[in-house]
Symmetry: C2
Subunit: 307 residues, 2 copies
């Protein structure tokens, strides 16, 4: 079942202790779409400026998975593409944003192509909560909607954010965002409070420390990160996790999910993210196949299984 | 098979966002001994000053597990007990030491009672590496020796520390210590480098983010922490983890262990630590039984198992 993703597309310059990559494709959408495409066809909605190189556009269809339909990729005349320049510390959990130009990201949302409007699986990447509510209405056949957000929107528009959380089926955020949404320092209580706001499930991502999944029925799944001895560039790991997780859920074509299915989905998210960080940008995601992900999920499952 | 532990015994004053506890029993030994005693008889070697209250001494035998033999607890005339006053931040991963008095900890090591010298399972809690080497020699029948250390000793005496690591079977340290020992920022590589120094296994503890176990055969186990919605006092969680882990290994009475056994042992360590943090000092450890730990290990195993 195809999955639609709305989110940022950008041009990144990334510095890590392992090297530097200038002007490479970035943004949450490319990681999410690439990751999800190993499991299900993906539909993309996003805007770039007229400076966006054709070869970067081709990247969206360069993954060895299901098709990524880029009919919703709008190249906007007179606008410039979102750009980000980040530098990671020796401890790659910490990064500094050296430069950011929002550009097209703060303009109007790109239109959703008509043939995307029957989408049943919808990922609302972080935009303003009012935009997320507006986007939601465009998918009347939606079965499962999952959202992301960032601290800016939590602080700026908590009221509409609460409406989005109540309207979606899943929330995927990091630990700081979960604490900010709920005013709760304990991530377990924070996760439970998010679920109490309405969705079927919440996932709290903890970067290199894994993730916790909270189900409305009270059950919890805990996943460490995949123990990675090769970390070249952590950019996009969280978006890859979300893409892998939701891609797997969409491939199951169900309306609701139990904790076991969500846990396996988060396991696939972990497997994709563990590949993403092995190279700059989407370099590694362009090389792998679903078989690599199945192998890594097996390894991961063995590493965590307590008999 | 009985397990001997050498380590600190102290009087703590602890402040957390949940409250304050004045002058309660602390130090690595009490947590380790309590945790291990749910699995195997424990022998204790440690020194306190003449100010150590009799009711705190009685705490060592207050757990509902196997016996803790305190014949090696020396009450030293003219000396004062180790004292620590710590305060945890709102984010309980961070704490400040407000006051510390090493007192008896920087005097001579307490003697090992003769009837402890046949011990086969030995835990060398953190003292100076030269002391650890000296202690090791006192247990000629040792089958499995596990050690801990702290940043002070890693910086102060790396040469002897390397000798201790080469001489023991297991190393249990936290992530910062592992990075410091190996000069490696990536914890997975750091763990592999520690194992390359000689031991059968290394465990890197990551506080509220779980632990990673590295085996000499190249296999790895990854455990998240138990998702805890009630954290009153994190003091002693790491020592409880080590005690639960090693207590379980000692109960297996084997000379060597594969990754599956080490992972289950780390699971028990996680189960004990998840109880320790539910109350100040050893308050919660005094209430629980082995059955509570079996139940929690089952819950934990279900939370992490990916089918």
């Amino acid at each position: 079942m195809s999955l639609i993703v709305t989110g940022s597309i950008g041009i990144d310059t990334i510095e890590t202790p392992q090297g530097k990559a200038d002007d490479v494709v970035g943004g949450s959408s490319i990681y999410f779409a690439g990751a999800a495409s190993f499991f299900t066809p993906v539909r993309l909605v996003g805007a770039v400026g007229e400076d966006f190189p054709a070869e970067m556009e081709a990247m969206f269809t360069s993954f060895k998975g299901e098709a990524v339909d880029t009919a919703g990729l709008e190249r906007r005349t007179g606008s410039k593409t979102f750009r980000w320049h980040g530098k990671y510390h020796e401890n790659m959990n910490i990064r500094d944003t050296l430069a950011v130009e929002l550009n097209v990201l703060i303009e109007d949302l790109p239109p959703v192509p008509d043939h995307f409007k029957d989408s049943r699986y919808v990922f609302l990447a972080c935009t303003a909560p009012s935009n997320q509510l507006q986007l939601l209405e465009q998918f009347p056949k939606r079965q499962l909607v999952v959202m992301d957000t960032i601290d800016l929107y939590i602080k700026q528009d908590a009221e509409n954010l609460a409406k989005v959380i109540a309207a979606v089926d899943g929330v995927i955020v990091n630990d700081d965002e979960a604490k900010l949404i709920t005013g709760e320092q304990n991530v377990v209580i924070a996760g439970q409070k998010i679920v109490a706001m309405g969705p079927l499930f919440a996932v709290i991502k903890k970067g290199e420390h894994g993730a916790i999944v909270f189900h409305r029925d009270g059950s919890i799944a805990a996943l460490p990160a995949f123990p990675a001895d090769k970390v070249i560039d952590p950019t996009g790991a969280g978006d890859s996790f979300a893409g892998g997780m939701m891609g797997y859920l969409a491939s199951q074509n169900a309306k609701s999910f139990d904790i076991e299915t969500l846990k396996k989905a988060a396991g696939y998210g972990t497997a994709v993210a563990s590949h993403t960080i092995e190279d700059f940008s989407v370099g590694r995601l362009q090389q792998i196949t679903r078989a690599n992900l199945d192998t890594r999920l097996d390894q991961f499952a063995n590493m965590v299984r307590i008999e």
